[in-house]
Symmetry: C2
Subunit: 309 residues, 2 copies
């Protein structure tokens, strides 16, 4: 089992920082991309899962893993469990596309379909889950967040003079993992999160200075854009995040196009949201070097094709 | 001028080696991608141009640059000349798509359109060019090849135990630059080139053991697939290349699809040809670790969309 975990760990890519090639700004450009879409299964999640596996005792792993997700997390966990030959259960929103469900099923995971609201209740801790599988919470599992924090270390190692960092905000795992590490490494770096206009509870929470919920409109930006900010997440983020930038779906599509044409990267909405936010920041002229985290690349092919028209 | 050259040099990306994420072979996979499509203007060419600029005396640069190309080389040179505020002339095949011509023109370069056969005559040295601009030959300029050779150094540094390397073969610049460096660093590494079935003169030349030409069928794989191998190129490559793998257009399209779905990379035909060749090699089971160079990502958007259907 240790050998397989070490093998899984070897699949994690140390992603480079890539200059954003916007031709008009070329040499003046100060945006850098951290392309986590290049990770196996197309997102940063594998970094967290491997960290959880490394820090769990092997006996407790035998009973298997569980998670609530329709997307990036589900595939990374299901794959890891498959390789470890342990059971895996995924709570999936009924709205998840059939292709994603099939992908998870193909990796041998048990799927439990629930209404989106119930999935969110699981994340809030309002539904008690069977304890036969170790549940990996997307924002509260410290080992998971430790795995994500490596992204911060890689950024600072490669670019110690970075001024600002943009992190896509969903449930808060990536924001907390990367945000805390950045803040610890250099508290002068401005930390921003980003959210789509269709659901931006962190922006609202920061404005009201309390954890808040919003009316969430489902959109193609499905890896971020949640209905609310969990209180524990809010209090930690409020202390380190400068602002949460709210991005229009139109700007997100433009960013998808830039990523395709100028940087040859296939990204999902959350990642493009991060670039669009960085472009907003760049216009302020306040920061020399901005890094935006391209969290993933799992986009519906039809949406992708439309966006690169 | 020196400052601008140094700035241009800072735009070159040290590309990572990325495991090819073919889900079925996942943990057994032994193919690694060198994604040069992530470079500025979507190809490895910038590495060569910057090397030429660094090794030229500044007075001789003042008169400007010229090159024969419709694609990757043209944009990288035109951009460099624009930044240096020196003239630039590009000999472009009449068959080149209007969008590419516009892109080159937008970068301020003078365009001279010629039939494809005449472009090839320039490459062969059969047409005398005006000497008012420094002509950068795609395969004979040693500074250019030195720039390309860095790719080999990066690969060996990151993966000293690589067994085989696949290089897309066009005129021969990349094959010579990378091939010679690999051979010098470790003569035990098997060096393969790849070509599309529509034009594979190196394969024919190796079989006949003399530089040969073939009937070239134009295809979407436009960055490689030339009508002949220049004698000087042939004699140097024959000494170090194990074989040139000929890949069907169908296999190239399959590889484009894999690169999109599994690795979130936008690649052009030449790069996908390289992956398809690596997959052929992997099936032989002879090599533990194969690196294929993804030479570029400048693909016609309609071709790309069709290939990811």
């Amino acid at each position: 089992m240790k050998k397989i975990i070490s093998k899984l760990s070897s699949l994690i890519l140390r992603t480079p920082l890539i200059p954003f090639n916007l031709p008009d700004l070329m040499l003046a450009s100060n945006i850098y991309l951290k392309p986590e879409n290049l990770q196996i299964f197309g997102s940063y999640k594998i970094r967290g899962i491997v960290s959880v596996l490394q820090e769990s005792d092997l006996d407790s792993l035998q009973s298997g893993l569980s998670a609530a997700s329709a997307g990036n997390m589900a595939q990374a966990i299901a794959f890891s469990a498959q390789q470890l030959k342990i059971p895996c259960r995924i709570y999936v929103p009924e709205s998840a596309p059939q292709t994603k469900m099939l992908a998870i099923q193909k990796l041998g995971a048990e799927i439990i379909q629930l209404p989106y609201a119930d999935i969110w209740k699981i994340v809030r801790g309002d539904i008690e889950l069977p304890t036969d599988r170790m549940f990996i919470h997307p924002a509260f599992n410290t080992s998971l967040l430790k795995g994500y924090s490596i992204i911060a270390h890689e950024i600072i190692e490669e670019m110690p003079d970075v001024d600002a960092i943009v992190i896509p905000f969903g449930v808060g795992g990536l924001s907390l993992g990367v945000g805390h590490a950045i803040h610890q490494l250099n508290p002068h770096i401005a930390i921003y999160t980003c959210e789509p206009e269709t659901a931006s509870p962190l922006k609202t929470s920061l404005q009201l200075n309390k954890p808040s919920s919003v009316q969430r409109i489902p959109s193609f930006v499905d890896a971020i854009g949640t209905p609310e900010v969990l209180p524990q997440v809010f209090h930690q983020l409020a202390a380190i995040v400068k602002d949460s930038l709210v991005i229009s779906l139109n700007d997100i599509k433009q960013a998808l196009k830039h990523l395709y044409f100028n940087n040859k990267l296939v990204c999902e909405g959350a990642a493009a949201c991060s670039l669009a936010a960085a472009m907003q920041l760049a216009k302020l002229g306040k920061y020399q070097k901005i890094v935006c985290i391209l969290s993933g690349g799992n986009i519906d092919t039809n949406v992708f094709k439309e966006s690169i028209l």
